[in-house]
């Protein structure tokens, strides 16, 4: 298969390696080093998509990140990528891509009817066309717009590729490896600075790859290759290609996405698909270059109309001709370089120059080569639907207002050059307020905001000599601030062709009687008329005009359209561009894969998973786990075909009847030490702590300053100045921060230290009437009788040779103990408890049974202490000291907290004793009351009481203490249930608390 548009003797692709790929199901081939764009153009394919709004045919416009048209959908290794630019994606064997935004095919697209209905799709059409009748929005307009909107189709499958994050620090980050990037990197690296040089393309060199220049007696390409080779060999330099620095954030933090495997058929083992670099740079040199500006004329979106610099790069880098009858339409000298390149490759171009009588080296060279040039000429409109077939051209008057001599000439591509726009995005993101430079009709960075400098054409320096000199100087200057090595390299001499001034003209007027669409934003289909309409309708601020017309809001962020849009607004408003200002540049500079942003924090890796030392035992014994914060806890231990409900009932019953053991390692544990520890606890907790004897535990409640309960738990006095505090699993980290806050900032005079010991101790709660008998066997040498170790007592003991701590505390409401050993002995302890407990019918129990036990006892937990309740609401007011002050006490006397009908916790039992009440149900007086039905409160936790064998719930309801005995209703609109209930005491089982003291 021959490639009609491939040149034989030019380009940098590897002719020895043919690569086949499919586009819209058809097989093509290209060479290693081709992009999808260059390979398709080599095969004569120019129609690759349809435009966003009007579904007009779309081809290729650029050759890199600025590409507004050629957005394709890629299938690779069973993964789908919906937003890739054909001008950037390199081909690989077996690559499959297809067009987006067209149906049924790119050649015949039904949506193109929008092109004929365009009077219905003016700027802001969402707000107009689809406003009436209002009822149509939900069912008709919105689904229609959703179907029509967006490019490509995201995958709904789990992405199996690996994406990594990396943090890096350097003296100097340089973004872009064009002449200024290379020169500054070289100067800085030679001066001893740690340099990162990032290039978004596969090849280094930037404009040197395509320009006919000489640096230090070598061609530009030779020089760049030499510099890159030397930089790569230096240990203080990191050189990265296929790496886009897309965001400039605070304090000189930049983010770069490195596409490691996107150009390969399959991600290699041990390599990620992409890597996101967070780079903290001491200094940044922005050498991101510039992007050619389009000229605006009729049908300037037809496939075959493209940037002249792109046409040149397709020839010089890829050896591909974008057309064989090219028309070059330019307002400056750059177009001539493209024309000369065509001529050198045996193609005769025609140049239309908007200028009257320019003269320069390049123009003379073009003339000498015999290239036909028409001065004061413009393209009025491109002709051809799916590809340029001809162009209407005309002579333009000196005032650039009138057209004459309109004629049609044949051509197959139109290469436009409207001069250059510096890529100031990164500088602008750093906070640099840019300024308009009249000489180049574009914005350039002003005073540095962060530690950044912009160099080269990104700074409006359009001659190589200026660029190279500036870059060597800056590279030395900023590196020397850091290294102070004073090692300056000599600057090579530069030979380049001199060019002359560009023409400020950029938008061709419409000939009389014609209404060609002249596009500004090619991706979002924003035409000159849309901007005119927005201004007619009263939009003035450029930010409003942008949002109303969607100018520059597509995935290309208006890289080619912004300045022309600003020019138009300022022309219509009779202002100059700097008065109009420009819209804000925001990261990312180019689209970034969501996968790269997320990195490896996916699924189970999104947070750490914490496991207790007994985890393996639980696994082996059929535990079904539940996430408790970052911990995995056994929810229940499944026997046979048991359901959760059956298993938890069995486990809870066994605790009430015999003895159970529960892994409580996850409880937060904090060591509180120091001579003022008692005083500190006395301020932190609501109850009194000064008189707690050594060897005793106490239950405490702590508040936030606003009076809301923050956490609860027991704290034990281990020795004179040492307390062991426990917190709930969920609040452990917050409580530690809270304690540190008060110790460090509020009461630094207190001599107390706190440290987390959660991971140092493994804990097992042994609960049930048989627990003491079991304990006596576990600790035969320790007196664990009711007298020897009373309720809320604490003892250190010997567990078969290992030191253990026994706390007689109970969450289940049964006679219970918590045994702690150092984490490493956790599994030993657990196995011993199970082994010795056999004769007492011990069974392990999970969090579900734990909940059942605490709910029917009326013990509060996270679902009651939910950040909205004060001690009174949870019936904890008995623990609030009236004598001493503590954190949050003053808040408790606020009027809302002391009103007589304040919410309070109660128990709820369904009258039929069988229907479980969904958690979150409302408690109401009259289920048939008019909506909104006044609610008395809500059900916070539900269980099946194993003591009474019927459902039981806790609820927090208004005036709870006076509601006991009332018949009310629990309503769950979510579950569509209304249940008649009786309000009872929250202490459903053993209200006197006899069992824990038995």
């Amino acid at each position: 298969m021959s490639q009609d548009f491939r040149l034989d003797n030019i380009g940098m692709v590897n002719r020895n390696k043919k690569i086949s790929f499919t586009f819209n199901g058809k097989k093509y081939f290209g060479y290693e080093g081709d992009t999808i764009a260059s390979a398709l153009i080599a095969n004569g394919v120019h129609l690759v998509g349809r435009s966003f709004k009007y579904h007009r045919p779309r081809g290729f416009f650029g050759v890199g990140v600025d590409e507004p048209y050629a957005i394709l959908q890629l299938e690779r290794n069973n993964e789908r990528d919906p937003n890739i630019r054909a001008t950037e994606q390199e081909i690989f064997e077996g690559l499959e891509v297809k067009s987006v935004n067209c149906w049924p095919s790119v050649n015949f697209d039904i949506g193109a009817i929008n092109n004929f209905l365009k009077m219905f799709f003016p700027a802001g059409f969402y707000y107009k066309t689809f406003m009436w009748p209002p009822s149509f929005w939900y069912k008709i307009y919105e689904p229609f717009i959703r179907m029509a909107a967006g490019f490509g189709e995201a995958s709904i499958k789990h992405d199996k590729e690996r994406y990594e994050h990396k943090y890096e620090y350097c003296d100097l980050l340089i973004t872009g490896s064009g002449p200024s990037g290379l020169a500054s990197a070289y100067a800085a690296a030679k001066n001893g600075a740690r340099v990162i040089l990032a290039e978004d393309k596969p090849r280094y060199g930037g404009s040197l790859l395509t320009s006919d220049v000489n640096i230090g007696n070598q061609t530009g390409i030779e020089w760049s290759e030499k510099i890159i080779t030397e930089l790569k060999s230096m240990s203080n330099v990191i050189v990265k290609n296929r790496s886009q620095v897309f965001g400039y954030y605070d304090h000189n933090m930049l983010v770069m996405s490195e596409r490691i495997s996107d150009h390969l058929p399959k991600t290699q083992k041990y390599l990620p698909k992409q890597r996101l670099w967070y780079i903290r740079a001491k200094e940044v040199l922005i050498s991101s270059g510039s992007i050619e500006r389009p000229l605006v004329f009729g049908n300037n979106d037809t496939p075959g109309v493209m940037l002249s610099s792109a046409a040149k790069e397709y020839m010089k880098v890829y050896g591909v001709l974008v057309g064989k009858k090219p028309l070059i339409f330019t307002n400056n000298d750059s177009g001539y370089e493209t024309a000369i390149e065509f001529k050198k490759n045996g193609v005769n171009p025609l140049i239309l120059d908007t200028r009257k009588e320019p003269s320069s080296d390049i123009i003379s060279e073009a003339k000498n080569l015999g290239i036909e040039i028409k001065f004061s000429y413009v393209v009025v409109a491109a002709k051809g639907y799916k590809k340029v077939k001809s162009a209407d051209i005309a002579k333009i008057s000196d005032n650039k207002k009138d057209l004459s001599n309109i004629e049609n000439i044949e051509c197959d591509c139109i290469c436009v050059s409207g001069f250059w726009t510096p890529s100031i995005h990164l500088a602008s993101q750093s906070g640099n307020k840019s300024e308009f430079n009249e000489k180049i009709d574009a914005f350039i960075p002003k005073k540095s905001k962060q530690k950044e400098n912009t160099i080269g054409s990104a700074n409006g320096k359009f001659t190589l000599e200026e660029t190279i000199n500036e870059a060597f100087d800056k590279g030395y200057e900023v590196s020397n601030k850091i290294t102070e090595n004073n090692n300056k390299v000599s600057i090579p001499t530069v030979v380049e062709k001199k060019s002359t001034e560009h023409d400020k003209f950029w938008c061709v007027p419409l000939p009389k009687g014609k209404s060609y669409k002249r596009f500004l934003d090619f991706q979002n289909d924003v035409a000159v008329t849309d901007i005119e309409l927005a201004l007619r309708e009263g939009f003035r601020s450029i930010e409003h005009v942008k949002r109303y017309t969607t100018l520059g809001m597509a995935t290309d962020q208006g890289k080619t359209s912004n300045l022309n849009g600003l020019q138009l607004v300022s022309d219509i408003e009779n202002k100059v561009v700097p008065q109009v200002g420009h819209t804000t540049f925001r990261p990312p500079y180019t689209p970034v894969s969501i996968g790269a942003i997320v990195g490896r924090e996916v699924g189970k890796h999104s947070k750490p998973t914490r496991k207790s030392p007994m985890h393996e035992w639980h696994e082996k014994n059929n535990a079904i786990f539940v996430d408790a914060g970052v911990w995995l806890r056994p929810r229940y231990y499944k026997q046979g075909n048991e359901t959760l409900f059956e298993a938890s009932k069995r486990e809870a019953k066994n605790v009430r009847k015999n003895v159970g053991v529960c892994d409580v390692t996850t409880l937060g544990k904090i060591d509180v030490k120091g001579p003022d520890a008692a005083e500190f606890l006395n301020r932190v907790y609501t109850n009194a702590w000064l008189k707690l004897p050594v060897g005793k535990a106490r239950y405490g409640v702590m508040l936030r300053e606003d009076g809301i309960v923050m956490d609860d738990g027991t704290t034990t006095r281990i020795s004179e100045n040492h307390y062991h505090m426990t917190t709930t699993t969920a609040q452990a980290a917050n409580v530690l921060s809270h304690l540190e806050y008060y110790l460090q900032l509020v009461w630094p005079e207190l001599n107390v230290n706190v440290v987390s010991t959660t991971e140092q101790w493994a804990g097992a709660a042994i609960a049930g009437p048989n627990s003491r008998a079991l304990l006596m066997k576990l600790f035969p040498n320790t007196d664990v009788s009711n007298e020897g170790l009373p309720f809320m007592g604490y003892k250190e003991a010997d567990l078969f040779g290992f030191p253990a701590k026994i706390y007689r505390i109970s969450f289940s409401g049964e006679l219970a103990y918590e045994v702690n050993v150092e984490s490493d002995y956790g599994n030993f302890m657990w196995e011993k408890i199970i082994e010795v407990g056999k004769e007492f019918q011990i069974q392990p129990y999970g969090t579900e049974a734990l909940s059942t036990l605490r709910i029917e006892m009326g013990h509060v937990a996270g679902s009651e202490l939910d950040g909205r309740t004060i001690p009174h609401d949870a019936s904890l007011e008995g623990l609030v000291s009236k004598k001493k002050d503590f954190i949050g006490k003053r808040s408790l006397s606020r009027s809302a907290f002391i009103k007589p009908d304040r919410e309070k916790i109660v128990g709820v039992v369904p009258l039929d004793k069988t229907t479980s009440i969904p958690e979150g149900s409302y408690i109401v007086k009259d289920p048939k009351a008019k909506l909104p039905n006044p609610k008395l409160g809500h059900v916070s936790a539900s269980c099946w009481s194993v003591e009474y064998d019927n459902p039981f719930s806790l609820a927090i309801i208004k005036d709870g203490k006076n509601m006991i005995g009332q018949k009310l209703f629990a309503m769950s609109p979510l579950k569509n249930k209304t249940i008649a209930v009786e309000i009872v005491s929250s202490h459903y089982v053993d209200p006197e608390g006899k069992r824990v003291r038995a």
Binding site: Y167, Y249, D250, H251, N252, M253, Y278, R280, G431, R683, E705, D706, S737, E740, Y741, Q744, L745, V746, P748, K884, D885, R890, S891, R894
Partner: protein
């Protein structure tokens, strides 16, 4: 991402810290009789200045010390950082 100088550890990235709010708030002394209004001001009322602001940061994934940071809320410029017990200017 901010780059915060911890007076105990040196320059560290923001993701090692937790934000702790206004550092100029002073908790009323314990056992002191104060009005509802005063207490309300302490618990709820905070200024949200544009510009220089003294705020608390907790070096939660580092030395676990609370520090005071003088930061410009609109530009994120950090002027100075202080230890918890250091007097601020």
């Amino acid at each position: 991402m901010l780059y915060i100088f911890c007076p105990h550890c040196g320059l560290r990235s923001q993701n090692e810290f937790a934000y702790g709010g206004d550092a100029t708030v002073k908790r009323p002394e314990l056992n002191k009789e104060i009005s509802d209004q005063e207490w309300n001001n302490f618990v709820y009322l905070r200024k949200s200045p544009r510009g220089k602001h003294l705020e608390l940061w907790h070096h939660i994934s580092g030395c676990r010390q609370w520090i005071k940071v003088e930061r410009d809320t609109s530009t994120h410029e950090i002027f100075k950082t202080y230890k918890a017990d250091e007097l601020t200017e």
